[in-house]
Subunit: 325 residues, 2 copies
DNA sequence: GTGAAAGCGCTAACAC
DNA sequence: GTGTTAGCGCTTTCAC
């Protein structure tokens, strides 16, 4: 059985409140007493119970981080950056995976709510209504989704899509397909809006698709049927799957069809042809999100939501080339 | 402000204990009363506070999962399998990343201890001594590390190494290098032990190396200096980095040198040449670990540690070939 | 079937 | 500088 504050109090001949102070407000206790308490605590292997502490203070010093799919290489750099950044500020980050399921997402948020001081919501799939309701119970920072009244970190994927399309147009492409992502994805809608506004191209929007390798693989037939010469995919995973699907059908990339992804994940750099992609500032997003969240947590009721938009850029590699004759 | 049990009690004209029972032992309360309480709770948006509940019951219904590096594609499938498996049993899994830092690992375990019912330790880097000490405060299941007195899930990487080596020997290789992993890795030691026992080969052990793409890249020079014709790397990431490093030096794989990885991660399948590798049963490991942990949690003090060893197998792809003449 | 009361481990006034 | 006391949100005897 782990030692409690009472055991330490008893063993060191002081009262529990003194032990409590020794840990949460050391300067308020006599150096001599403090040392004795500390020694006894060490001896008994006592560690303050954070959950119990949270019950009275209302502060857990934990943050929750919810992602749709840990297996998507897009998220780990964001997670790691957030964790490292939070740790410097004496906060711990607990990650949970929703498996792209809104129901699970809601359940996880509910569970986390009382065990953390704030939640980082990455690319949520939940409806605005539900998010707003859940928001009443715990501070949120939302990444890659625009929600009024909530602190938000956006990656400027609209700009990224324009860069990608400009690159394709410069290579001579006119008939271009956009492989959209999951329903409910802000990023996907943002890309589509940006793409539709680009003049001089004939855009076909295909989707929604699963934001995975398999989603891209499954989309290959539709892409060929659409009669386009270039494709902008919702993300790199989908782009990689598409390239595979095309290869299976004997279609060469970039010889016969150009493909651009979004995210700049590691596998995109490893695949052949190396993937041309819109790079997303995932690490900066993780750090910024933690900053905004801690700001909210510190401010309490008076918190003012903030919006940060992070820049994206295009990385040209091998999966794009001139339009075939 | 979130509603508490007291708000619900007041609003539905019953006492808190009845509300409590409605949620934790519904069969003990009159159907009519129960429905009224449920309706009021729903109305007020009441959710039982799990942290407070845990304080009295000693059960949080949360599990902690500690990994060295979320960004290593080896872990996500294990994490996802564990989460899915746990959810079916009404448990939530919180993931934390140690960044390969034993100090951080210890800190995270300390923090998690009181907020979860048990911890899944994947490929821990901590010393046995420290793990044993921490184990006194919370049930552990350890994955890929052998610790007496603790429930353990092992992947039979020794057997995998033998399969890989046999494959290389069959291709004519005799001078083979083993790129070992991080210090403190059970997997790495296990591979080395198995490899050293294989007769008829001349083994060079190189390392320790960082279990990342960069680690493999950095090892390329040493591999060439060793004058071997084939390499077995600690994991796929390292193997991929090695292939890159060799390519930079104009050495072709598998033409001039054969490379085998371990793990069977997605990027290994995407890279060119496609990586020959020892497949690890990561998903089964995640599920098994949760089972063992829940068994421990349910048993309380009387828990008996169990050991499960999971089989590995070899996947031959393109990064291995006959020894050059 | 429901109420009353004690208590989980801790903090935070308030006394002294 | 330290002790006393109440209470965070909940469960769990024990009465009734």
């Amino acid at each position: 059985m782990a030692a409690t504050i009472r055991d330490v109090a008893q063993a060191s001949g002081v009262h529990v409140s003194t032990v409590s102070r020794t840990f949460s407000a050391p300067h308020l206790v006599n150096a001599e007493t403090r040392n004795r308490v500390l020694a006894v605590a060490e001896d008994l292997g006592y560690r303050p119970n954070r959950a119990a502490r949270a019950l009275t203070t209302g502060r857990t010093h934990n943050l929750g981080l919810i992602v749709a799919d840990i297996a998507n290489p897009f998220f780990p750099p964001l997670i790691k950056a957030a964790q490292a950044h939070a740790r410097l500020r004496d906060y711990h980050v607990f990650v949970a995976d929703t498996d792209e399921d809104p129901q699970v997402e809601e359940e996880l948020i509910q569970t986390l709510t009382k065990q953390v001081d704030g939640v980082l919501l990455c690319s949520p799939r939940l409806s605005n209504r539900v998010i707003e309701r859940l928001h009443q119970d715990v501070p949120f920072v939302v990444v890659n989704r625009r929600l009024k009244g909530m602190s938000t970190v956006l990656m400027d994927v609209g700009h990224g899509a324009r860069l990608a399309l400009a690159h394709l147009v410069a290579l001579g492409h006119r008939r271009i397909a956009l492989l959209s992502g999951p329903a409910g994805s802000w990023t996907s809608r943002e890309m589509a809006d940006a793409a539709r506004a680009v003049p001089g191209i004939e855009l076909t929007v295909l989707g929604p698709n699963s934001p995975t390798e398999h989603g891209g693989l499954a989309a290959a037939a539709g892409v060929l049927a659409a009669g386009v010469t270039a494709v902008l995919a919702y993300n790199d995973l989908m782009a990689i799957g598409l390239v595979e699907g095309l290869a299976e059908r004997g279609v060469e990339v970039p010889g016969e069809l150009s493909v651009v992804g979004v995210d700049d994940i590691v596998p995109g750099r490893l695949a052949r042809p190396k993937l041309t992609t819109v790079a997303m500032p995932t690490e900066a997003a993780g750090r910024t999100a933690v900053d905004l969240l801690l700001q909210l947590v510190g401010a309490g009721e008076t918190a003012t939501p903030a919006l940060t938009t992070l820049a994206t850029h295009l990385i040209i590699r091998e999966s794009t080339g001139p339009v075939p004759p």
